[in-house]
Subunit: 208 residues, 2 copies
Amino acid sequence: MNEDYKNIPDIVIGRLPLYLRALQYMLLENHFVTSSKELSERLGISAAQIRKDLSQFGEFGKQGTGYHVEFLITKLKQIMHIDTTWDVIIVGAGDIGHGIARYPGFKNQGFRVTKVFDNNPEKIGQKIGDFIVEDSAKMANAIREANIKIAMIAVPASQAQQVADILVNAGIKAILNYAPITLNLPAGIKIQYIDPVVHLQRMTFYLE
Amino acid sequence: MNEDYKNIPDIVIGRLPLYLRALQYMLLENHFVTSSKELSERLGISAAQIRKDLSQFGEFGKQGTGYHVEFLITKLKQIMHIDTTWDVIIVGAGDIGHGIARYPGFKNQGFRVTKVFDNNPEKIGQKIGDFIVEDSAKMANAIREANIKIAMIAVPASQAQQVADILVNAGIKAILNYAPITLNLPAGIKIQYIDPVVHLQRMTFYLE
């Protein structure tokens, strides 16, 4: 991480992908200049917050002329370290594993799935799109050899902690967990959860 | 929505499911009383923020004695309107649709998947766990008849907007979208996105 950025709160970092996503959609719409007000309308985050967040990383816009969409995309990608492509492995070749192995949305977003593992003999050797499911007994070595830093866990909840321990031991630094369980991880390992329940519960507040 | 709560920012509402989740794990661990400090350590949200968020909904804790875990869970469920069970439909019986149809995490969290739809003749009639995939041509009627308010979209990006329009027309008020596309929806319809890219991009900032 850039030392200049080390005091920026994690909640600000968490908004950067949303800004990036909104800017990328603008570019698709041939929309080349924008403002914090316009971003605010797209994202439901206040314009003042957006200006404050972005200003922590530098001077990206000018009073009155706004932000250049393409330039801001480039800068955000640099800040988030996705101006390169990260290799990512998937553990678990069930429904969710299949879905993310075939997910078309990683392209040009900084990520490339390189391997899919499972411990079930019936699944090992199976084809998923361009992948052949590999034996998870070989996972740790594969991670070390290719210096993989990011993994997605899509195994049942009962196996997720054990898988996470193996991943971290082999050198994984960031985990995206689809299993409905909170993982215990050493300090310094980043974790994100994909949990449809949390998203659904965010909306029911507003329903009668 | 409770009129008393109508000025509470959406970002506060968004943290309530995280508080609930942390409290539920505490209860599983037979941990019956907690504090904003302890919640803070679990969630990485400041104790002051947690106290401020919760105080917007009432007096749930006492200075010095903390929060009663079970009581706070009950209150949060009432506030989020998940003291009842919402019927939810899934549109799209591909990998992701299969995964969420079989997802064990909805139970006791306020949601129950009741139907799965697809427009592909090869998928209609297929079994997914306890469900038989139904023809999405019958979707609008099914939503109206059962007064369904919540849907999950798990179709390809190219079909997601069309599906969303049908859902909203039929009375759906909240959508959880797995398709990698932003949906245009009328005001008042709630939308949440499940996007692994956003979660991965939240973590790479911290990686070398």
